[in-house]
Symmetry: C3
Subunit: 345 residues, 3 copies
């Protein structure tokens, strides 16, 4: 049950015709166009008022037994549908579900406008329908695009530019950065602080002024308490559509490609550059000044110390190709497996 | 020396009779009931105004030489007490010490009431003796139980429910969550933001609305800058008495058991479920959709990729039973140990 | 190009004579004393209005071809300078560059004074030229030295002492701590919260009051969203000149030496003590109650479970001397390398 205290529905029901338009799915039989559903649910919990989806064959048995009124499903799987369930055909059932879910439940609550208790410099340029919540501090020269939201107690330092339709949550810090359109930044994220740069001597360390910026392109999503340092002279860049999870560290001058996926607690050291569609698992670590080929997938807890030129799956610290790593794990286990007849192992 | 700038004593002295009541310890000789102590100290620093404790045999020599007026100790160890030290007998000396320490020094300062500079919706329901410090933003429909404290500049999003006797520190974010009684949440923790959920395609990623909540049960303790994402449809749950350290990540739909201990920088991926009394060492990582048996202990930096059905100690990435892992480490060392006579190793 | 929206120059140009004074470099020929430069740039991008530096031989070819008007360089390398570039001789070119860069671009913007929208107890003692930005909450008895800055929405708990020339960024939490002079604390850092200390029993856990402080000595630099817990009875201490990166965890009673370097996402468990000049790579983990010798270097992702008495480089989890670890990695790779003629590896 979705808790109405926390989630507002945008509409009470949608017809399958409307859902097909939203999701680019199609019905097998036009006569169902006016059937309506009122909500979403997983296969095993859905009822005749709800729509569900089958993406992973693992859930085929649940699909065969579902009580859902309608279900997103690939053409191939549709034959397994139970009698009371209308199939909406798509090559990407989970994507269709995501789009439909957004139609029922907008990702973000409606903005509440400019709070009297926000502190906004009169040199800022705010678009139409901007929200700035209580306690937010927006300094000189900041620009905020139409429909964007700045959450409570966030701090936007001077001359930061934020595009349209952005959601900056509460208690976020933005400085020395340009933020594109449709960017989401979760609570506690820190964007644009100086990176870890200093000259060392036995007598002491001297900070090198960090004179670059952070560029966050359109459709990027950044998680809670993540930190992205600004560049030293060049910029730190997070490219279009990339998703970054919680507690991630991007050092100065890091560049991601488009549509990368950076899972929680990953750390990427200064000046490393990712191609497009790179995925890093949780707690992965990348040394500095590396180039990682587009399409590379780095497993959780892995450590990358050299360039990766060949896309593929990598694991270990330092990383090996996934198959080699798994063989190494197996070899090691054999070496130390307890002998038969031995006790206390 | 405990710095009086930072720590207020709740009482100037306690009699050993009072201390035995607080700590469930007992005296060997009733005549000491009215002896008083004024403070606490470690064995090697305590004097005749102070009480100490012996939990670990490693400190036996310190115990034999202590100047403490009184000391919590097991029955077995009492015979080693020096002449000037009164033994308070208990099976759990450290627990007795903790309870006595709390009697001298409350865990939290007294609340200061509702600040004029807090921003509190008039639709909130506040219990008696609630504190909301300056700059805190408390939105519509929030409920806060008796004696609970909301620290400065924290943000409590709409309809969050907080129980009685909770301590929410400064600069915390709470959203989409229910918080039990006697819960402590340290500064900078983020509870209830949307998890890392989206449908992927080569053309772009689409967020899946995250429609669950976070449930924090009674007596839970959450560390600084820790992040706990809300569920996708089901709830993320932290069960009774669990302790979570700083900079920990719990993904959407994670569930802990009762009285788990999650050490700093641990990451637990989405939908993984811990039994009761599970301990994870620092920087441990758990993949998603796993079940971890009650009583399992996972060593620091270990990586868990499969279910753990058998309680015990585990180490490595991927984890092995602790003994097997240590044997593997030893075998590897032998293989690469420098040959005798070889230099420069 | 350095973005003037974000970076204010402190001066339009500097003469080489002034630069030599700032950087302790010297000219080969006094006649260049009045030559001026207007900015800084890397070797490959500098023009005749700019100064650059050559620290690493790797960039010798760039040096030979640079268009920079002047360049910091060691005496030995000066012979490779192109005709139009004036050499400023120094043993530490990067340090000289750092000092010059600071003369052009101050590390921090000028303070803006005490904001009307800050919340400052009237029992605080503020030095001259102190800045407290909007939304900051500064509680009873806090002391702030001359020229120090408290960023927007930060929270300074009671009786905290902050020295002179400190930069506390926005949304920082300081409690139970003494901060020296010239300390920089980045946005979202948490200093002085209670550590992870409790007595355990099967019936529940009881918090042990954390009665120590955090002492941050002069010239320390602390990164974004880093957490440093206060001591239990003794203090947690970060000694002079130490640099701590983002998302680092220091447990209660940790002590660093002077001039340590703690890279991002490192975790150091309670009561561990570092000597001077210790370096920990990203995501390194150190168990509790250890002593680490001065000059030790611990590689990224390494795990330290025992004392390190012998300075040197260490890697692995648990750590080995670097050379031994690399030999182990090589041995393992050989064991599992695909046999010739075998496919699908």
């Amino acid at each position: 049950m979705i808790d109405p205290d926390f989630f507002d529905k945008a509409c009470d029901s949608l017809s399958l015709k409307e859902i097909c338009e939203i999701s680019s799915a199609h019905m097998l039989d036009r006569k169902h166009a006016d059937v309506t559903v009122q909500d979403l649910a997983p296969l095993d919990r859905a009822d005749q008022s709800q729509i569900s989806f089958l993406e992973n064959k693992k859930y085929l048995e649940q699909f065969k037994a579902t009580k859902a009124r309608a279900c997103f499903v690939t053409e191939k799987m549709a034959e397994h549908a139970p009698e009371g369930t209308i199939c909406l055909i798509t090559d990407a059932p989970y994507m269709a579900y995501a789009l439909t879910a957004q139609a029922f439940y907008p990702i973000w609550d409606k903005g509440s406008g400019i709070s009297d208790q926000a502190v906004i410099s009169n040199t800022c340029k705010l678009g139409t329908n901007v929200t700035v919540e209580a306690g937010a501090v927006v300094k000189d020269g900041v620009q905020i695009g139409d429909n964007s939201v700045i959450g409570a107690n966030s701090v936007i330092e001077k001359n930061v530019k934020i595009g349209a339709d952005c959601h900056i949550a509460s208690l976020v810090t933005l400085s020395h950065c340009h933020i594109g359109d449709r960017v989401s930044i979760a609570t506690g994220a820190r964007i644009g602080q100086p990176g870890f740069g200093f000259a060392m001597s036995a007598k002491g360390f001297v900070s090198v002024p960090q004179l670059g910026r952070v560029i966050i392109e359109d459709d990027v999503d950044i998680g809670a308490n993540t930190t992205i340092d600004r560049g030293t002279v060049n910029d730190t860049i997070v490219r279009q559509g990339t998703r970054i999870d919680n507690l991630v560290q991007l050092g100065h001058n890091v560049e991601t490609g488009n549509l990368c996926v950076i899972v929680s607690q990953t750390g990427i050291s200064g000046s490393t550059k990712l191609g497009d569609f790179v995925v890093t698992g949780g707690q992965a670590g990348l040394a500095g000044h590396l180039n990682i080929a587009s399409g590379t997938r780095i497993a959780a807890q892995s450590g990358v110390m050299k360039d990766i030129d060949e896309p593929g799956e990598y694991m270990g610290s330092p990383v090996l190709p996934l198959k080699t790593y798994m063989r190494q794990v197996a070899t090691l286990r054999k070496m130390v497996s307890p002998k038969k007849g031995k006790k206390n192992d």
